[in-house]
């Protein structure tokens, strides 16, 4: 699954998570979610939506915990947009970070691999 849509700005991230849940419920394995373009914002550990709104990050983490789905964040798209894990923060001299496991920063090559290795790829756009 490829997610280009940012949470809270566009519906695409909600649609993606809802579809992911439905696929898993059907008994399929969802091996990888790759976050690209503004979709990288799904990986932010700093989102604090109001309590009575959807907590998207929890949904993504549950997919990982319960089905082992990899949550991959494009590193090039992410660094430009302020998505950094502790390693990248140190390398860029930042005293804060915004990406935590199970989200992993990775290269676009992983998207290409995932596309060719899996039966199906579905994209959720902004």
């Amino acid at each position: 699954m490829l997610v280009h849509a940012a949470p809270y700005s566009q519906q695409g991230a909600l649609s993606a998570l809802r579809f992911a849940n439905a696929v898993v419920e059907r008994g399929h394995r969802l091996s990888t979610v790759f976050f690209y373009h503004d979709g990288v914002h799904n990986a932010s550990a700093l989102m604090s939506p109001p309590q009575d709104e959807v907590q998207l990050a929890d949904g993504w983490k549950r997919l990982h915990r319960e089905g082992g789905t990899q949550l991959l964040v494009c590193i090039a798209a992410g660094l430009r947009r302020g998505l950094v894990d502790t390693g990248e923060a140190a390398r860029h001299g930042l005293n804060s970070h915004s990406v935590e496991p199970p989200f992993e920063l990775t290269g676009v090559g992983q998207l290409v691999d995932a596309m060719l290795e899996n039966d199906r790829l579905i994209t959720f756009a902004p």
Binding site: A22, V23, R26, L121
Partner: protein, 96 residues
Amino acid sequence: MTLHLLNRSPQSEGVYRDLREAFGDGDHLLLIEDGCYAALSSGRDAVAAFAGRVSVLKEDLVSRGLEGRVDGAIEVVDMQGFVDLTEIHQRSVSWF
């Protein structure tokens, strides 16, 4: 055979135009998110080229208050139907 997903209202005429070029024999179109507005009779021109091969996602219709307003030629599918469509078709592409 390709499943085309489209999430833009008919207001985005360019994306409907490009989809028409790319839509082949045996392909299917699923309208999601703001694409649901193309399932109204006012959206008939936008999806006329795909006649008989268009579905729309029920959950997105309901939240928009569109459920009773869908053009008769368009099939309403729920989340399970969405998953079915991705199983039936070898691949999907998303237009936006």
